[in-house]
């Protein structure tokens, strides 16, 4: 204290900020420690996989350069390693095409299903449907693949023939091979079935969070069910639904086994848009298709393909996180 007790009034005070409260007891310290270890281990695993993929695929990536992802030639299994060429564009493009089509098929189904669960279905049915959707999400992709091959393909082949018969003049529905199985169209439906639960769960969550007072406002103004959903609930949930779609896209891009069952992989030619043709690509499926009989150089190239796919899905997930976080902020305003 100053002698006249007034000096401290003239100084501008220094603010003290508060950090997280520190653990003081031993059990609390042990708890914080294990939490930190768990948190760091996920980061460590991510970095370790990236590092492994990058270093072990480096020789192949260096040899091919940019044409590794832009070229369409794949020659492996030769005695002379210098003759081998590894380029993945047909597979990379195929992964995108499959995922895009899957999103186109899955989004309307998922959003309508979520609207039904949240706004229309009686409580019991809504609860039952929620469980069904969760179970659907838990079916292993191998099972979906076998089902897609044995059960779904014959059905979807019929749809494909019908589409070709009536809309065959549109370029994307051209098919000159008279084979309608093992196409990107069928692959995308199988993928779509796998990602419907993901998008539905997210869409259901965000739709259910539509503030009651906004729903009241819309209904009080004479809003019909459709009007209320379209003008109030969907705009509110838009960001969250887009985030869910991106999560689904990430899953569709990375899917391996299911696609391997239902798609005819063509490594050296890109099927750009003929979605009913029995030709397509998928980076992940290529890896299991080629891995068994690959030369050492080919394995390097496959790991490189894995690296490209890994980075792609990472970017998609980051975008999804960003969109979901942004929409959560908007809801708070």
């Amino acid at each position: 204290m100053d002698s006249d007790g007034s000096d401290h009034l003239k100084e501008s005070p220094t603010p003290r900020y508060f950090g997280r409260e520190k653990s003081r007891t031993r059990s609390d310290k042990a708890f914080s420690g294990s939490v930190v270890v768990a948190a760091l281990s996920s980061l460590f695993i991510l970095v370790a996989i990236l590092f492994y993929l990058a270093t072990s695929s480096w020789p192949a990536l260096r040899k091919e350069g940019l044409s590794f992802i832009t070229g369409s030639t794949w020659i492996g299994g030769l005695d002379d390693p210098s003759q081998q060429v590894f380029q993945i564009w047909p597979m990379l493009y195929g992964s995108f095409l499959n995922a895009l089509l899957a999103i186109i098929f899955a989004v309307p189904i998922s959003v309508l299903l979520a609207i039904f669960i949240v706004f229309i279905a009686p409580k019991k049915i809504a609860r039952a449907l929620t469980i069904v959707v969760d179970v659907l999400a838990a079916i292993p992709s191998g099972i979906i693949g076998i089902w897609g091959f044995l059960v779904f393909t014959p059905v979807a082949e019929g749809w494909a023939r019908l589409i070709h018969q009536y809309l065959g003049s549109i370029p994307i529905f051209v098919n000159n091979q008279d084979q309608f199985t093992r196409s990107p169209f069928i692959t995308a439906w199988v993928l779509g079935i796998m990602i419907v639960p993901i998008i539905t769960v997210v869409a259901r969550e965000v739709l259910a969070q539509t503030p009651q007072d906004l729903l009241d406002a819309a209904r009080g103004l004479g809003g019909s069910l459709w009007g209320t959903v379209r003008m109030v609930a969907l705009p509110h949930a838009r960001g969250g639904i887009v985030g869910g779609v991106m999560l689904g896209l990430g899953r569709a891009l990375g899917e391996t086994v299911a696609i391997y069952f239902v798609l005819n992989l063509i490594f050296e030619r890109v099927n750009y848009y003929r979605i009913l043709d029995p030709e397509g690509g998928s980076v992940a499926s290529m890896i299991i298709a080629k891995f068994g009989e690959a030369t050492p150089e080919e394995i390097q190239a496959l790991l490189g393909a894995g690296l490209v796919l890994f980075l792609l899905t990472l970017v998609v997930n980051l975008i999804a996180n960003w969109i979901v976080a942004r929409s959560a902020r908007e809801r708070l305003v």
Binding site: D213, D216, A217, R219, G220, L221, G222, G223
Partner: protein, 278 residues
């Protein structure tokens, strides 16, 4: 929906004991009973709302006033377990009749809520027009509708230069006036207001009271309020709701506002309006 419409036979003298005067009546309730699940909330409510007048509903918290006005435009039925008996007549027709489209009723009997709830993702202009779009009404000359409604809600001068700004950029009082403008756009005959000023400061409250007086020149207004002074300032008629010892609430007294506050007939009304309980 979970609404049950059970007819309760009413004795003849029960039907209009509280009907004030001989004015034209758009909206009235006859022998209305309201339940949540098995619990009876409101009992034997017979109220008539004379055309182009303001009726205040007063009474202690939890006595079913808000529930009552939600019954008047079929918002009550969105609450699980909601049920009612008796009749709600709009121009002589029971709005709970199976042939009546509830969406249609809500465009004629509009509602303004306790908490201002403009649509945050829409501009001020789109908020005013939102009811027309929600109810799929056809309209032309949207600029004129926006202007007229905002003027009647005495908000026009404050927002005329930023109609495309987000509704969430407005203050609480402005948001509530925007909600009133939004309700006016669908041209309801009756406007229900559930404590519209309870979240607002005195200045905003006064402006909304002015708006209520203004719109009641060609609209029937029913307002729930806990503010005795407000009831006296804005309303022509006042109905006093009371639930005694956990029993279902009833209308104790309904008369011209002046009578309710100056010479109430019932001693409980007298005690309540003079602040002895509630």
């Amino acid at each position: 929906m979970n609404i049950k419409n059970v007819r309760v036979p009413s004795s003849p003298q029960d039907v209009h004991p509280n009907k004030p005067g001989d004015a034209n009546v758009h909206l009235e309730t006859q022998n209305l009973h309201v339940w949540f699940g098995k619990r009876l909330i409101l009992e034997k409510v017979n109220l008539a709302f004379p055309e182009n007048s303001v009726t205040a509903l007063i009474g202690p918290s939890g006595c079913g006033k808000s529930t009552f006005i939600r019954v008047l435009n079929r918002m009550h039925e969105f609450i699980p377990g909601a049920a009612l008996a008796g009749r709600v007549l709009y121009d002589g027709q029971d709005i709970y009749d199976a042939a009546v489209d509830p969406v249609n009723i809500r465009t004629k009997v509009g509602m303004v809520f306790q908490k201002p709830n403009p649509f945050p993702t829409m501009s001020i202009r789109d908020n005013v027009l939102s009811g027309l779009k929600l109810a799929q009404m056809t309209y032309e000359n949207s600029e004129e509708i926006v202007r007229t409604c905002l003027e009647r809600a005495s908000l026009w001068n404050e927002v005329k230069d930023r109609l495309d700004a987000s509704a969430s950029s407005l203050s609480g009082g402005q948001q509530q006036r925007l909600c009133i403008a939004r309700s006016l756009a669908v041209s309801p005959k009756v406007l229900l207001m559930d404590e519209p000023c309870s979240a607002l400061d005195p200045g905003s409250t006064r402006r909304i009271e002015d708006t209520i007086r203004e719109i009641s020149s060609d609209m029937t207004v029913v307002i729930v309020t806990h503010n005795m002074a407000q009831a006296q300032r804005v309303s022509d008629y006042t109905a006093f709701f009371l639930s005694e010892d956990g029993a279902p609430a009833q209308v104790v007294e309904n008369a011209k506002t002046e009578e309710i506050f100056k010479k109430p007939k019932d001693s409980r009304t007298n005690d309540y309006v003079n602040g002895l309980f509630g």
